[in-house]
Amino acid sequence: MKYGTFFSYWEKDWKGDYFKYVRKAKDLGLDVLEVSAGELLNLSKTQLQELNALSKDLNILISSNIGPAKKYDVASNDPEIRKRGIKYLCDIMDSMSILGSEKLVGVLYSFWPYDFIDLDKEGNWNRGVESCKIMGRHAEALGIDMCLEVVNRFENMILNTAEEAVRYVKEVDNPNVKILLDTFHMNIEEDYIPDAIRHAGKLLGHVHVGESNRKLPFDGPGSLDWRAIGTALNDIGYDQYVIAEPFVTIGGQIAKDIKVWRDLSGNADEAMLDEAARGSANFLREAFKA
């Protein structure tokens, strides 16, 4: 398994200097940097190529994360919006191809955060599946894995459990369309987290890790059972990325979207945030050993 962190850990808004963060990932002993996929459309072809070269040079893999805005909702009952959303995610995949990023992850089947105005789950499910089939073919052609994120009930209504995601992804029926399970969301919705992981099995394409309150995974009382989670991942032969998605500071659009209402970082400065990320990844490497 390869270990990494979502760059948003260090930022207040959903954008950042990815050159800086690829270097930081290297300094902290990580294998992967996860970036905001939408931001890639703002980088020129040259910048994407340079970032690709830098990441190869430093041996850092890149995964791309997105919760699409409502105007890009591929499950919308407005066909124009669906078309626009599919084009948006396919354009992102084209940029990812230049960048050399092979994982597109997030709420790709809907929009985020959800506003719970349209509550027709079946309609959104079916339309989303059709859109994912179309996008899946684009992903297949580029060698990119689309990993659909299962999220808690407050953030979307279509995929809240591994069981639902497995059914969904089987309907899409494309080898490049898989599942992303996130321990924060699983801790709310699943009966048992290791069982959810086992249920996803070979369809699990990406993993997000974080404590129940979205702090970095740690060892000790009050933490999730990381060893049981590691055992489940090894049992299903999962060998892809494990990305920490911590949200611990207040202020800015990220805190608003993630609903962080109190500081969870211990008033950390950048150096402290860095050390915490390094320590957490090292802990997980140990806890997830086969």
Partner: protein
């Protein structure tokens, strides 16, 4: 400790009549039925006398829950809302006393559920809310009512998400009938350690809601029930323990609680009642 259930286990709408649930709670082996106080202000006094009589006949204690509408936000920056809220609560407490209901819990310090598109000023809202709650507390005392401040997860509230924040608030209000309320569903998201959270609340804990992580009735899920029971004993909590399960989709409740899949295993009413009966037996055994 006494054990109960919130009425929304059985219905997915904010009903007007609770008396039918009283004998049902009794049949399931419960001590308490928790009702919703959202409509109390508009019912006539006879309604509450009837509720009291039925509860007495069935040996059931009544408690109340309430998630305030925006127009009843005691911490609002709009003074006309605060006035409206104060009158709403005054009438609600008066009627609670008629029904022999002495505890009301929820996000009484704010409104529910929050609209996260709003820009919250947490510090200013905290101070305004504390000020308003002191007034509500004195009113509630006239009617022999305790107010329980519930810590909620981040998606449903912003002012009080953890026991430590609830204790800070309750200390600031500084009234004997304003206490902390914890709920295992919310704690499972926001607290690092449920046990530490319970200990933090300590003697301020006035009400306790229980449920599994995904809001199924307590039993064989992954909430650390034995440790929770021990923590409640350690702080000498001898109050009410109310289950708040949400397992069916549909209705306004299904929308508010965000239930997007059936968690009842297609249970009919008989199975629902059976599960509840087993849950309370499990809690009595585990909490001692």
């Amino acid at each position: 400790m006494k054990y109960g259930v919130y009425f929304t286990y059985w219905v997915n709408d904010y009903v007007e009549q609770f008396v039918d649930f009283i004998p049902r709670a009794n049949k399931c082996g419960l001590d308490i039925l928790e009702v919703g106080a959202f409509d109390f202000y508009k019912q006539n006094d006879e309604y509450f006398r009837q509720m009291r009589a039925v509860a007495q006949d069935n040996g059931i204690i009544l408690t109340a829950g309430y998630g305030p509408s925006r127009s009843n936000n005691i911490g609002s920056a709009d003074s006309s809302v605060v006035r409206h809220a104060t009158e709403f609560y005054r009438e609600t407490f008066r009627k609670m006393q008629i029904a022999d209901i002495h505890s009301i819990g929820g996000a009484l310090y704010s409104y529910w559920p929050i609209d996260a598109n709003e820009d919250f000023d947490k510090e200013a809202d905290f101070h305004r809310s504390v000020k308003g709650m002191k007034v509500l507390a004195d009113m509630a005392a006239d009617y022999d009512v305790t107010l329980n401040m519930e810590a909620l997860n981040r998606f449903e509230g912003y002012l009080i998400n953890v026991a430590a924040e609830a204790v800070k608030y309750v200390k600031a209000v500084d009234k004997p009938n304003v206490k902390v309320m914890l709920d295992t569903f919310h704690m499972n998201i926001e607290e690092e350690s449920l046990i530490d959270a319970i200990r933090t609340a300590g003697s301020y804990l006035g009400h306790f809601h229980v449920g599994e992580a995904n809001r199924c009735p307590p039993k064989s899920g992954r909430m650390p029930w034995a440790e929770i029971g021990q923590a409640l004993k350690d702080i000498h909590y001898d109050g009410n323990v109310v289950m708040e399960p949400f397992v069916r989709m549909g209705g306004q409740v299904g929308k508010d609680i965000r239930v997007w899949r059936d968690l009842s295993n297609n249970a009919d009413d008989a199975i629902l009642d059976n599960n509840l009966t087993e849950s309370v037996q499990f809690l009595r055994k585990t909490f001692g």
